[in-house]
Amino acid sequence: MHTVQLVIFLFFFLLVTVMGFMASRWRRADTLDSLDEWGLGGRGFGTFISWFLIGGDIYTAYTFIAVPATLYAGSVVGFFAVPYTIVLYPIIFIFLPRFWSVSHRHGYVTPADFVRGRFDSKPLALAVALTGLLATMPYIALQLVGIQVVLEVMGIGGGTNSSFLEKDLPLFIAFAVLAAYTYASGLRAPALIAFVKDTLIYVVILVAVFYLPTQLGGWGHIFDAASKSFDAFNKENADAIASGAAAGKGIVPPPAAHWAYASLALGSALALFMYPHSLTGVLASKNRTVIRRNASLLPAYSFLLGLLALLGFAAIAAGVKVDNPQQSVPALFDKMFPGWFAGVAFAAIAIGALVPAAIMSIAAANLWTRNIYKAFINPAATPKQEATQSKLVSLVVKFGALVFVLGLGTQDAINFQLLGGVWILQTMPTLVFSLYTRWFHRWALLAGWAVGMVYGTLTAYNVPVPGKPGSHFGGPLQLVPFTDTKGYIALTAFVLNVLVAVLLTFVLRALKVANGTDETSPSDYHADAGDPGVEDVLEGEPGTAPTTG
């Protein structure tokens, strides 16, 4: 047990929890009993708050734990998170303003709302909603792994001899706290906490990337140490690597891994803003300009993400030896920082996992309520019933994620996020292409989605964990069909998806199959805050009476 760490950790954790509960009073509307108030924070955030909110999607356990862990483990494509967050912003810039406009004209709160309005198709909207719910769970699971490893390194739970309950109890407690304050405050809780979180995170990162290297002989030495360690591993395991039973390690991808690296970056970037939680953050911004301005401001986050990733190498240089690579950064902090500062750092990591977990579960809950509960189960639901459903489902989603953590191995947590990407990317043709054109046929899009989902899931299922033949969901990469190059499964499935959608659209259009009534008009995709018909704060019954411009 590390007493000082633990006291400091608990102090910040409690501080944030209290703030979470108080957030329900901040800039509050008359009542949180409407879904728009609870689920979108009333939609009125300017550049500054939006910057923090969207940034919260980047700085998560993914950044602090999972990415450095892949570098620590010597994955040659581990640094892909940096090009991922570079190409992300030009991509955001292109299509998100259109999505903002059409959503604010018609009161869409979820991606599936838009699909229903654009294609007049309940099945397609349902497919998009279910994909969002499914894909969010492993992403939340990744956050839970982040909290788990921090607690383990502090000496709570874990250990090979401990019982099931002893091992996972701290995780359940942290989770109950998150669930409670999200339940009470909605999106306001994560928005307010984001300030504390980012302050803590910046302090920790700046210390980590400036202080740690000086203690470890500078970055040059850190890279050399990692390189030497990987060379030694490759020499020792030359036979296993040659037979494919183990993966070779390195600090730069060999030419054979270039497409793997680029496709992981591009696939992840395309996928991120298909997630319901990312779109929720975008819809909460005040106007279109905020989105584009942020697209050029957010890369500040990427820079720190890259330096954090390199802490995986720093852990090697510091001689950190952990069986689970996910523990490498917490173990590095434990080894190199005084107890009190390690406590601060652990709090930053844990809170940095809680905030996005809250945002993700709220967004997934909105999907359930609007696009499944209201569309199929109780069309006459009152706003209060809707808010109640969302609150309950946000709990369910979190427990679903908990099951993911307990059920799948946590050795390679980044695979959780990449698996979510395989699924969520299959909604992109429906969501993004149709922001520009109504050429695609709704049934063709649904068929493309189904093909992409089946191919992606089966392919990912059949990837074994290196060294464990017969195991499943062991990695995000597989040979691209008809080539001998490995690529990110999500992107391969996406290409298949688009091919099917295009071919079937030709067929269905030739057969003149009805393609539904489009409730949107061209001007909807350009309208800004203050324009006729644009609701900047949606109140009353959400989604029932779409306004036309």
Binding site: P90, F93, I251, V252, S296
Partner: protein, 96 residues
């Protein structure tokens, strides 16, 4: 998409498209930067080049943002929108 009035702002949007395309494609060309040498401050080329790409792409995106502001304003009447957002009589959302 064939949007009317495209000629007036088409040039600006073409520049925006090129800027963004460079920002998306350049980081994905791994073969351009997959080497250890030359090092900079202890960082292998592979790493410092990708760090360098962050401000570069950020700048490209910022220029695209500035260009898009003007083009968007010019495009507005084409889509049946007032010249400036908020020109309608509806009170702006100050009740918050």
């Amino acid at each position: 998409m064939s949007e009317p009035n495209a000629r007036r702002t088409g040039g600006s949007w073409a520049v925006v498209a090129v800027l963004l395309a460079v920002g998306i494609v350049l980081p994905l060309l791994v073969g351009l930067y997959d080497s250890i040498e030359p090092r900079l401050g202890g960082f292998p080329f592979y790493y410092w080049f990708q760090f360098l790409l962050i401000p570069v792409v950020s700048l490209l995106t910022f220029i695209a943002f500035r260009l898009s502001l003007r083009a968007t304003r010019k495009d507005r009447p084409t889509f049946g929108l007032p010249a400036e957002p908020g020109d309608d009589t509806r009170p702006s959302g100050s009740e918050r």
